[in-house]
Every structure is written in C-alpha cells, then in structure tokens.
C-alpha cells in the first residue's frame, strides 16, 4: 500500500536535518560503493589470473634442466644438465603420463621469410602432444602429427597472427612455404590460442626435423600432461620424473637445482586458495564498512526518536497504535539505507562497468585486471542485505519509541 502521508512524514523528517541525513546516507553509500569496487577489483584480478591458467592444460608439469648444486657419486657440483631424446623416451614410459612433448629452440634471433618479406617470429619445435598441453586450437588445416616426426618432414603450423602478417587479400596460407634459417617449411595448419597475443605469434615445427637440421639431439624443456587426477597423484608423478632423470643424469634426487619443475596443478590449487582468501577478505572488509554505515543509521534514528519524543507522545495520545509508530521509524530507516545503498551500488557498478567498457573499447590490457564483472545474484543479495539492515537499524530505535509514555513525553 502506498501511503502518501507516511512518505510525507519521512521526507519532512529527513528534510528537517539535511546535513545529518546526507552524512548518514553517505556512510551507507560509501560502504556499498567500496564493497562493489573491491569485489570488482577482486574478480578482475582473479579473472586475469584464471585466464593465464586456461591458456594451458591445468594438470601439466614443466621440466627444465638446471645446474647441479650437490656433489654426487664423485661428480662435482655445478654441472649443467642437458635433456635429449633419451630423456623424452624415459619420461614418456612412466605410468600416468597422458601427453608428453619436448620443446627445442633455435638459438639466436632470425627472420621468417615469405616471398621476399622477412618478419621476426618465435619458433617452437615440438611433439604433436604439444597441442593438448598448450590448448592450441586449429582453425585451418592440421597440427603436427607423428608422421611429421618420424619422417623428419619440413612442415610448420603457424599462429593466426603470423598468417595475417604474411598472407593478405585472402591468400590461402595452407601449402605455401615459409623460409626459416634457410630451410623451407610447408604450412600445414593455422591455429589460434585463448592466451595472450604472444601465443598466437608462434610457429611450430616438428622437433625431429629441427634437431636433424641443427645437428643436435637436444631438448630444451619437457612438458607432461597428466589428465584428470588429484593433486597428490600429480605430485607423486612429478617426484617419479625427478627420480628417473636423477638416475639418468647422475645427480642426487635431493638436488633441487639440477632440474627445475613447475607443477601447474599445484600452482592452480595455490591460486585458488589465495583467491578464496582474497574473496573472503573483501567480503569481510566490505560487510564491515556496511555495518559501520548501518550502525550510523541506527544511531541517528535513536537521536531522531529522542528528538521526537514529545511528538510521539502526542501521536500516541491522539490514537497512534504501537504498530504505526514502529512502521514510521522503521520505514524511515529502510528508506534512508536503501536509497543510499542503492546509489552506492549503482555508482560502484557504473565505475566498474565503465572501466571495463573503456578497457574493452580501447583494447587496453592490464595484466592484473581483466573482465571485472559483478554478477547479478550478488547485486540482488546486496540489495536484500541493505533493506534488511535498514530494518534492523530502525527496529531498536522504533521499539524505544513505542515505550515512550505519552504523559511524561508531553510534560517534557
């Protein structure tokens, strides 16, 4: 029921103390505003980190050779470890390895040439499983396959940004030859990647071909993917890989420097824990500031009741029921908190949303801030909290008002 008189009462009551009303409302406004901004920033940070993870298969382990730090079986510390195809075979035979790839890099910088045009791109020489591990999506043609490896084929798969750079006016890159380090490679596929632009500027070659041409049986890095298994299993396999390689390269299994591993699943787990904490902290701070605002409202309503003691006494003498007194106070409190809170919510959303759209339309990428969305369910939840807290803030003063004895109130 819309009761004009009640609203008039509220407006006139609030209007009689404009500064006080404004300051009280501001506290609530600020509380909600800060909560929204914090949540937006938190989500932005989380999304940006999540994006980095979604770039690769989450349950993978990266293994890089390092330098021994301990003496082992008469061998001095400080030896450089190097991986070769034997290591690849050893690790791929281990139980639980779903996918495995090596990575081999050409040393030094060089140009990639097509029909006289030379551009600089990064080249990775890999096994076919690299596709799964890097989450590469083929948009045209095919990825590298086992036959390419076995037969040392001179083929390549290029990122869509590479294709755009060389092939204009709708020219089909498939079947064309790129010249890399004086060798021609036939393009068999084009891919894209959900990660950063950098990922889409790669050129992939079969690792066997590259090793043969450079005359070295080297592997710079091994990456394995373990499929959907719990973290403990993943850590166990990581340990087994270390042990196998320790035996092969004669270093102590306790040597943490000889090879370096990076377990993405472990990192992801840590990441989720950290963000769980951050989210909890944001809510803690946000709810805290809202509570501060609500307590402010409650305090002011107590003062309002004190000021209006005589008026409430008169109203009671004229036939105001306790209920009408309570609703008068509570409604004013709910109105104040909801309006202030709603404005805070709107300003917060506008700021976060505006920032997002400015970033999108101007193609600005901030590494630690991506897609700072705030979901609708949370907004509704916040509004519900606001109305509820308004009612709670008004209830104590209202019950105080009901207790007012009209005789005493009017004598004062």
């Amino acid at each position: 029921m819309i009761d004009i008189d009640k609203w008039q009462e509220i407006f006139s009551s609030l209007g009689r103390h404009k500064l006080r009303t404004f300051l009280t409302a501001f506290a609530v406004w600020w509380g909600i505003f800060m909560l929204v901004i914090l949540l937006g920033a938190g989500t932005g940070l989380e999304n940006s980190q999540k994006r980095n993870f979604s770039d690769d298969a989450t349950n993978s382990i990266f293994i890089r050779p390092g330098q021994t730090s301990q003496e082992y079986k008469g061998l001095p510390p400080g030896r450089f470890i190097q991986f070769d195809n034997q290591d690849f075979d050893l690790v791929s035979k281990l139980e639980g390895i779903q996918h495995i790839t090596g990575r081999f890099y050409f040393w030094g910088s060089f140009f990639v040439t097509y029909q006289g045009e030379s551009l600089s791109f990064d080249v990775r020489c890999v096994h076919p499983d690299h596709k799964v591990i890097e989450n590469t999506k083929i948009t045209e043609g095919r990825y590298l396959n086992q036959s390419d490896i076995d037969e040392f084929r001179k083929v390549c798969v290029i990122g869509d940004l590479v294709a755009e750079s060389f092939f204009k006016d709708g020219e089909d890159p498939i079947g064309k030859n790129l010249t890399i380090r004086n060798t021609k490679y036939k393009i068999v596929g084009i891919f894209t990647d959900s990660g950063s632009d950098r990922e889409r500027r790669y050129i992939y070659l079969p690792i066997s071909t590259a090793q043969k041409i450079s005359g070295r049986d080297r592997i710079n890095q091994l990456i394995v993917e373990l499929g959907d298994i719990p973290l403990e299993e993943s850590l166990k396999i990581e340990n087994e890989i270390k042990n196998v390689l320790a035996v092969q390269h004669k270093f102590s299994p306790d040597d943490r420097e000889a090879i370096r591993t990076f377990n993405l699943a472990e990192a992801f787990q840590e990441f989720q824990t950290v963000f769980g904490f951050i989210r909890g902290f944001i809510w803690f701070v946000g709810i805290g500031s809202i509570i501060a605002g609500v307590i402010g409202v409650s305090n002011i309503m107590l003062i309002v009741v004190k000021e209006r003691t005589k008026e409430i006494g008169v109203r009671k003498a004229l036939g105001a029921t306790p209920r009408s007194i309570v609703t008068m106070i509570v409604q004013e409190s709910i109105f104040l908190t909801s309006i202030a809170g709603y404005l805070g919510l709107a300003c917060g959303l506008l700021l976060v949303g505006g920032l997002q759209s400015v970033m999108e339309s101007n193609d600005i990428e901030i590494e630690f801030f991506y897609n700072p969305e705030i979901d609708l369910g949370m907004v509704i939840f916040a509004l519900f909290i606001l109305i509820l807290s308004g009612a709670v803030a008004g209830l104590i003063p209202a019950l105080q008002a009901v207790k007012i004895n009209p005789v005493i109130a009017m004598k004062s």
């Binding site: 004229l318 029921t321 005789v407 009017m410």
Partner: protein, 220 residues
C-alpha cells in the same frame, strides 16, 4: 458515561511506594461539564491520565461508555483513545512542523480517513474555532490562545464522547482563558462530556460540577 469504582494507583520509586489514588468512586454522566480541582500532589493529573487511558490503574474498575477499560493492550488503548476521547493539554502539544490544518487532521489519520476528507474536515473544525484563515499557518506563527483553539479543534475532530483537558488555560491570560472556556461551553452544549483539570477557581466556577480532590481521594 464514565464510571469509576474504587480506583487505586500507586507509584514505586526505589523502595518507597507512593499511594496516589486511594480509592476513587466517581460517576460522570453523558453531557456533563465537570472540573476536577485540587492542589498539586492531590492525584488529579493521575486521575486524568487514567481517564484518558494513558496510564493503568492498580485496582478497581473503570467503565467508559459501557466498556470496561482494564488490561488493555497498547493497540486497544490507542483505539479507544482515538474513538472515545479528545485531549487538550496545557502546553497545547501541537506539532510545530505541521500546519494548523494538518495538526487538526492528525486524529483522523489514525482513524484511516482518506486524505482529502481529512483536510476538508480539519478546515471545517478550524472554522468552528474561528481560525479558518489560519489553516496553512504553522503553530509557531500563532498566539497561545490561537494555538489552544487549534488544539481544541484537534480534540473535537474525532467526534469524541469525552473531552479531557489538562490545565487548558494554564498558559493563557485571563481574557484568552475565558475565551477558551467559552469554547468548551459550546462543545458541551453539543452534548459532549467535558472534563477539565484545573487549579484556578474562576475557571472551575464556569463548569457545572466541581470535583475536589485531596490526598488521593474525592471530597465533593
């Protein structure tokens, strides 16, 4: 209209119990014009509060227009006040941020009378007390006598059966006091029971029945 039987009331402050009313028996018929007199501490204000259902009594019985007023909830008390009684106070007790008409209309608000009708009736009652042109003025812009007339209009608008006035002339000069008393007389002539608490003899003389109170008892 009003029937009090052996009403007692005591206040407890700390360990002291003060017996304010020691057994009041009183009958007031419909249409009577009554004044209650007594020195301060005689219990006359307490009696008026009980009559106005603003305070509860300890023992005895109070019947108002045939209805027993005992063990009422706050809501019931509010409704009976609104339905049967009109109050006029010594300090007027108008709401300063509301216009004369809004003040007069307030009891009707609690009777859930629609807005427009409320205003029309408020202006009508202000007209009766000769303040029609002051409808849109705030109480602070009016003299004491005018404010009390607004308060009388407010007491009358709910068409009560009984008007209770607590020292209604206490804050007014003699001429204005007589003017206000004449209003009460007119109200009484319309058949409404009027009960005035006062300590001024000349005011009490203007009523048709004087009830003297002393030490919590009536000595008529």
């Amino acid at each position: 209209m009003i029937k009090l039987q052996n009403i007692t009331k005591s206040y407890t402050t700390g360990q002291n119990t003060l017996q304010v009313l020691k057994g009041i028996d009183l009958n007031i018929e419909a249409g009577e014009f009554v004044s209650i007199m007594g020195s301060s501490g005689s219990g006359k204000s307490t009696l008026l509060n009980i009559l106005g259902i603003l305070d509860e009594y300890d023992d005895g019985s109070y019947t108002l227009d045939g209805t027993l007023m005992k063990d009422l909830s706050q809501k019931q008390a509010a409704q009976y006040r609104n339905q049967f009684l009109g109050f006029v106070f010594q300090s007027f007790n108008l709401l300063n941020f509301k216009t004369a008409a809004e003040n007069v209309a307030l009891p009707l608000y609690y009777q859930k009378v629609p807005r427009k009708e409320r205003h029309a009736r408020a202006v009508e009652y202000l007209d009766r007390v000769g303040l029609k042109d002051w409808s849109d003025h705030l109480p602070t812009q009016m003299s004491g006598g005018q404010q009390q007339r607004v308060a009388i209009a407010r007491a009358l608008i709910g068409q009560p059966k009984v008007i209770l006035a607590d020292e209604p002339t206490g804050a007014l000069d003699t001429a204005t006091s007589h003017e206000v008393m004449n209003f009460f007389k007119e109200v009484n002539d319309q058949g409404i029971t009027v009960i005035i608490v006062t300590h001024e003899h000349d005011i009490a003389e203007m009523t048709s029945r004087i009830i003297h109170m002393k030490d919590g008892l009536i000595e008529e």
